[in-house]
């Protein structure tokens, strides 16, 4: 019987949630080892041994220690091809290429402005850091342009990479969730017909609802 894989990092971290969502989609048993980043757990020598950049998440199974959430997700899909959602990373090279394309688009085009907005609008206030209106405006404009591209794509295709939910869509869940639920700028997603439709579908998946529950439990006394 396989031992549960280990994921290191706080449940409120967007990158940690990306990995947890993937593990849940793939029905892979895992243990979440939380870190207190406010106390600097992620910069301590023991953690730096497995994640030298001092970032979350880190991942370990019996065979390997990995960093970078999107690399971890790819590995989970390829290491457990027969478990859970078998098509999450495509079942043939062309499908996989399309998923990789949109996973890269998420990482290069969606992630930077959405992360900046999540930080400014949802996290900075909690951390008593002053918001930067210039940064907010700049990233809203950037994200709007990216979502215009998504709006067109999602008018032609049910999900980003094709007809099936994939790792590419999953990768967007954490930041999009914060934008819609923890800031007042959610309509950047929900007011666009196709993006709104897509958001509704992907955020209603059982795996994502479990992630949201897990985050809520973090908050309860």
């Amino acid at each position: 019987m396989a031992t549960p894989v280990k994921v290191y990092g706080p449940p409120l971290s967007t990158a940690v949630c990306r990995v947890v969502a993937c593990l849940l989609e793939k029905d892979v048993e895992f243990q979440l080892i939380s870190l207190n980043m406010a106390k600097g757990d992620h910069k301590k020598p023991d953690f730096l041994k497995i994640q030298p950049f001092g970032q979350v998440p880190a991942f370990q199974d019996e065979k390997i220690s990995l960093l970078e959430s999107r690399a971890i997700c790819r590995y989970v899909c390829e290491n457990y091809p027969e478990k859970g959602n078998k098509g999450l990373f495509g079942t043939n090279p062309l499908a996989k290429a399309s998923i990789d394309q949109w996973l890269e688009a998420e990482g290069q085009s969606f992630n930077p402005p959405s992360s900046a907005l999540v930080f400014q609008l949802a996290l900075a206030p909690r951390m008593n850091i002053k918001q930067d209106e210039g940064v907010i405006k700049q990233n809203e404009e950037k994200l709007a342009k990216v979502l215009d591209v998504y709006e067109k794509r999602l008018g032609e295709s049910r999900f980003l990479a094709g007809d099936e939910f994939s790792l590419a869509d999953l990768s967007h869940l954490p930041n999009a969730h914060y934008l819609v639920n923890a800031t007042d700028r959610g309509e950047i997603l929900t007011s666009r017909d196709n993006v709104g439709r897509w958001w509704g579908e992907i955020s209603n998946r059982d795996s994502w609802k479990k992630v949201v529950d897990m985050q809520k439990q973090q908050h309860s006394p």
Partner: protein
Amino acid sequence: MVVKVYGSVKAACPQRVLACLLEKGVEFEIVQVDLDEGEHKRPEFLLRQPFGQVPVIEDGDFKLFESRAIIRYYAAKYANQGPNLLGNTLEEKALVDQWLEVEAHNFNDLAFNLVLQLVILPRMGQRSDTALVHNLEQKLEAVLNIYEQRLSKSNYLAGDSFTLADLSHLPALRYLMNEAGMAHLVTQRKHVNAWWDKISSRPAWKKLASLAH
């Protein structure tokens, strides 16, 4: 069928793809996209690459954008041709993916913004921000310290062989070390320097560099 690569042979992201195709011995044709003239923002181009970026490839009916997706596709498609750029086991492949992500998220932005400040803005007659350059340099030094540590234990980033993870760094590193005048970032680090020497001496890269510069 020749793979069409839309972009410029001088631009970093198309170079990432061209380096991979050269390593794997895959025939390609470069279709010039005039970035200075804003060709990449015109409607005809946006039909190929909706974010208005280069590169995008066309291989018969198959189209793909995002350079790191393109190199993953071709490295896998031609796994049995040329050097193995993806590792042999699932674990080795995972390390290739890991270091590709590190390049994309920890290295690339810093390198790109340094080149923007030190090379591109001056070419456009604009002033660069010295405080920002200093800040970027410090951050990149911290990242390269981690690379130094890694490369002291491993010949290449993902293991004992040259893979996509190393290849992905070539374009930006070349710009940093030449036009941007930041060679010290590499040469001051023993193992990073040795790694750079090895990867930049590969025939495929030398061929591309001579085509481009």
